[in-house]
Amino acid sequence: MNNYAKRRGGRHIVLALGLLAPVLLLLPPGRGPVAAAPDVAEVRIDNFTFSPAELTIKAGTKVVFRNSDDIPHSVVMASVGVHSKALDTDDTFSFEFNTPGTIDYFCGLHPHMKGKIIVVPQMNDH
């Protein structure tokens, strides 16, 4: 999202964005527009499923994987060589995604459980 607020003479645009921003914040994270602001996003694990299965975040965001299931799960990101420890109920695993790209992951105990993190570049402020 471009921040025009600092541009001279951009007050009318600032007003428009001021009306839009709450709408954008209400959009759920995932496919589609990137949600405004969060440095932390969450993936919930329940019923042998990662939710959201596909999460789009800005580079620099920390993702917290939280296991709400009654069975342990883990997070394995083969492409970045990351293998979390086993997460029991209510355990979390956090990882900061700094590089744009798509990272597939799966559960090390139950490999049919899969998910995807789509990392988009952080936009620069002008």
């Binding site: 342990p72 105990l109 490999p111 049919h112």
Partner: protein, 315 residues
């Protein structure tokens, strides 16, 4: 109890009928003292030489403490107590994995203590819950694999009573989107292990995840099991014992009998009947009918092994 597979009454069935009618009393001599065996179970103890019995137990998940069963150590003890109370003591036990719930030392310790109270040798293979220590399976190998002379993540073989037993590991190095996996190294070892065995040697293969495709949507199968079954094609009698799905399932394909055991910890839903394959909570009075052990009998002169499933309680 009835051997309907052989199309009618057999020796055991006849004895059972006789006991019911009250005319059947089997005399046997033990230590020089004649002893009458009124119970059918005891009569089996005097089966023909070359026959023996072993137990399959599975999925004890020591460390689990959720509503589906808050006392998995207790139900494991009940299972072991049933085995101890059997009139014919089995020769040994096979545990088809998920001994622990989180691969913790205290969980393995507790399991060992309870299982050890049966006073029998136990042959283990790991489940995925036994591979989640910090070193991804070293805890299991140190405790169970080494003493079995196991290779890789814990595969090995041994012989007992003329039967060749092979413990396989299909819960290591799992790949995304997949099911269980044996891997090329283990398959090469298996080929080598089997090639000296004669076609008439009964083979028992045991592994945690089913070696046939029960339900791929839930990961209930092994991707490269076909390669293993191919290596077993030439043998006249093959029995495959698995766990992981926490329910009984049996399938016969040619010379191969596949069997999955109940857990001693908690039941899981039948394929496709729930959102996920996780622990299934049932009314307390029903739990013990869905947990149990299995007795496997090797009978002289019979190709197929007999598997008798024993829930902790009747439904």
């Amino acid at each position: 109890m009835f051997d309907n597979k052989n199309g009618g009454i057999d020796r055991r069935g006849m004895l059972e009928c006789m006991v019911w009618v009250g005319t059947g009393v089997l005399w046997t001599v033990q230590g020089g003292v004649p002893k009458s065996l009124g119970l059918l179970g005891e009569a089996k103890a005097q089966a023909a030489p070359g026959a023996f019995t072993f137990m399959q137990i599975s999925d004890s998940h020591i460390g689990f403490n959720k509503p589906a069963n808050p006392n998995v150590l207790g139900t494991l003890q009940e299972a072991i107590d049933r085995i101890k109370a059997m009139p014919t003591k089995p020769d040994f036990m096979i545990h088809t994995g998920d001994i622990s719930h989180l691969s913790r030392a205290n969980e393995f310790d507790d399991a060992d203590k309870v299982i050890g109270s049966a006073g029998l040798d136990v042959h283990y293979v790991p489940g995925e819950h036994d591979m989640i220590d910090e070193d991804n399976g070293k805890a299991y190998m140190d405790r169970y694999g080494r003493r079995a002379g196991a290779k890789g993540p814990g595969y090995y073989s041994f012989d007992a009573g003329g039967v060749h037993f092979v413990g396989l590991v299909n819960v290591a190095n799992l790949k995304a989107g997949g099911m269980g996996s044996l891997g090329e190294e283990q398959l090469a070892w298996l080929a080598d292990d089997l090639h000296t065995k004669s076609a008439s040697t009964p083979i028992v293969v045991f592994a945690h995840i089913p070696l046939w495709t029960v339900y791929p949507e839930w990961g209930w199968g092994t991707e490269d099991s076909a390669k293993a079954l191919d290596l077993l094609k030439g043998f006249g009698s093959v029995t495959v014992l698995n766990g992981h799905i926490h329910q009984l399932m049996q399938k016969v394909e040619g010379n191969v009998t596949f069997h999955t055991a109940m857990a001693t910890a908690f039941p899981q839903p039948q394929p496709g009947t729930a959102a996920s394959p996780g622990p299934m909570t049932v009314p307390a009075e029903r739990l013990r009918s869905l947990l149990g052990v299995s007795k496997v009998e090797v009978r002289r002169g019979q190709k197929q092994l007999a598997i008798i499933d024993q829930p902790l309680a009747e439904s």
